[in-house]
């Protein structure tokens, strides 16, 4: 499979990359690790006329901790995130496909692609993190809850570059990540991530649950969160809350799973992720 022909530039600065995007118009696309875009181009589901490769732009990789926030530069690979000691984000990144993919795929690329079946979007949502986007008129911050708009559609403008992902360090939270697929390199049929903070009396002070592939965008399992917040963290309470994991979701059916099966998976995976998180909190 060979992509439709396109023009290619690899600018040496972010300003030049933004300029090239603006000049290329709506059919110009950014290339980071290429592990979302190139497969679509090979299938000819995407046919950009210009690729703006970010590989030469300095300062787009690495992770820093600053004032309780992990600042992950956009071109940081899944492998680097997986081995970066970031708790939930590292655990989730370590389950992305296989090492060849993790060596190329990037956190910024995955979030900008906005695939509801990918691992990192729901993780960003559970952290209540945000991303930095740079465009011709400067930089803005997009909170996780506003980033994902629809299937493969984000709030990023066509001439904006996602430059950084910011995750609060979530000190004191336990975490769990569960996903179900048939082969390592497959997308999640369903995934559930959980962050749990215990109060001194052992009850649930705070909980965040993110769901992968349960709608056209990543979702929070708000009903399950509400059912657990302020309650005990025993297995009955967790199982009861997890029963509500699929409330308000509209999972797309596909070759691997019907919507009803996905709702079942969400409940089971949510329970397991919560148990894992509570055990570590």
């Amino acid at each position: 499979m060979i992509p439709v022909g396109f023009d290619y530039v690899a600018p040496q600065s972010l300003e030049d990359a933004i300029g090239a995007l603006a000049e290329g118009g709506e059919e110009a696309k950014l290339l980071a690790g290429g592990h979302s875009l190139l497969p679509l181009m090979k299938l000819r589901l995407a046919a950009p006329t210009l690729l703006v490769d970010l590989r030469r732009v300095p300062g787009l990789t690495g992770i820093e901790r600053q004032n309780g926030v992990f600042r992950i530069r956009a071109m940081t690979t899944h492998h680097q995130v997986a081995t970066g000691g970031l708790g939930l984000a590292s655990e989730a990144a370590a389950t992305i496909a296989d090492q060849q993919v993790r060596n190329r795929g990037t956190i910024g690329g995955s979030l900008a692609h906005g695939d509801t079946a990918a691992d990192m979007p729901a993780v960003l949502l559970a952290y209540e993190g945000d991303v930095a986007a740079r465009g011709p008129s400067g930089e803005r911050t997009i909170p996780a809850a506003e980033l994902f708009e629809d299937y493969l559609t984000t709030a990023l403008a066509p001439d904006e570059v996602l430059t950084e992902v910011r995750l609060p360090s979530m000190d004191g939270y336990g975490f769990g990540y569960q996903k179900f697929n048939r082969r390592r390199e497959d997308w999640a049929m369903v995934g559930a991530c959980a962050l749990v903070k215990k109060a001194p009396d052992g009850s649930c002070e705070d909980v965040r649950i993110g769901l992968t592939h349960m709608g056209s965008i990543p979702l929070r399992a708000s009903a399950a969160e509400d059912a657990l917040r302020g309650r005990g963290l025993d297995s009955d309470a967790i199982a009861g809350a997890a029963e509500q994991a699929a409330e308000g979701t509209g999972p797309p059916g596909d070759l691997n799973a019907t919507p009803e099966y996905k709702r079942h998976l969400a409940r089971v995976l949510c329970r397991r992720a919560l148990e894992e998180a509570a055990g570590r909190a």
């Binding site: 499979m1 060979i2 992509p3 439709v4 022909g5 396109f6 023009d7 290619y8 690899a10 290339l31 290429g34 592990h35 190139l38 497969p39 181009m41 090979k42 046919a47 006329t49 690729l51 490769d53 590989r55 492998h79 496909a97 296989d98 090492q99 060849q100 993919v101 060596n103 190329r104 082969r183 390592r184 390199e185």
Partner: protein, 170 residues
């Protein structure tokens, strides 16, 4: 750069220089040329195989700056200025690399289609972790699919190579 017409749009070719198997190679490539097609078609190095062509099977695995990647999901232009190792580059001093010997000694292949990718992923694993456990070997190879062996002898081949390399002090 020269203008050519190919596919549906007019494109410009790009000059790239890649250190391929310890040798510098320069070429003019179309942006849409995949690394695997550059290796097989342009350079005639057919040891790198195309299997699924969808980033799944790992038959096209090569090392980019020592790390395994799938060359069916990587443009040749992206390799500019970087080091690429293919199965042809495993040979040292005209002899087999210990990983190649391991696959031979332990019958780590039947049809052989997945073998170049398996050996490159295994080489990268052993460079980082000279004495991996069975679990670590299986985890490392989870992006390389074999439809013949059931993986038993592939794992043994990697263990054989690890022991040989330890003995040789590599």
């Amino acid at each position: 750069m020269s203008a050519t017409v190919s596919g549906e749009t007019a494109e410009t070719t790009h000059a790239i220089t890649v250190t391929l198997n310890r040798q510098e190679r320069s070429a003019e490539v179309e942006p849409r040329l995949l690394l695997v097609h550059f290796l097989r078609g342009t350079l005639g190095l057919t040891g790198t195989h195309v299997g699924c062509d969808t980033t799944s099977c790992g038959a096209c695995t090569v090392l980019l700056d020592g790390k395994p990647i799938k060359s069916c999901t990587f443009l040749a232009v992206q390799a500019d200025g970087r080091e690429v190792t293919t199965v042809e580059g495993l040979v040292r001093d005209g002899g087999l690399h210990p990983i190649q010997e391991g696959f031979k000694e332990e019958h780590g292949l039947q049809c052989g289609f997945c073998t170049p990718g398996m050996m490159l992923t295994a080489t990268a694993l052993l460079a980082e972790n000279p004495n991996p456990s069975e679990e670590e070997i299986r985890w490392a190879l989870s992006g390389n699919v074999c439809r013949c062996t059931g993986y038993q002898n592939i794992v043994k081949a990697v263990q054989w190579a690890a022991a040989k390399m330890a003995e040789e002090g590599r």
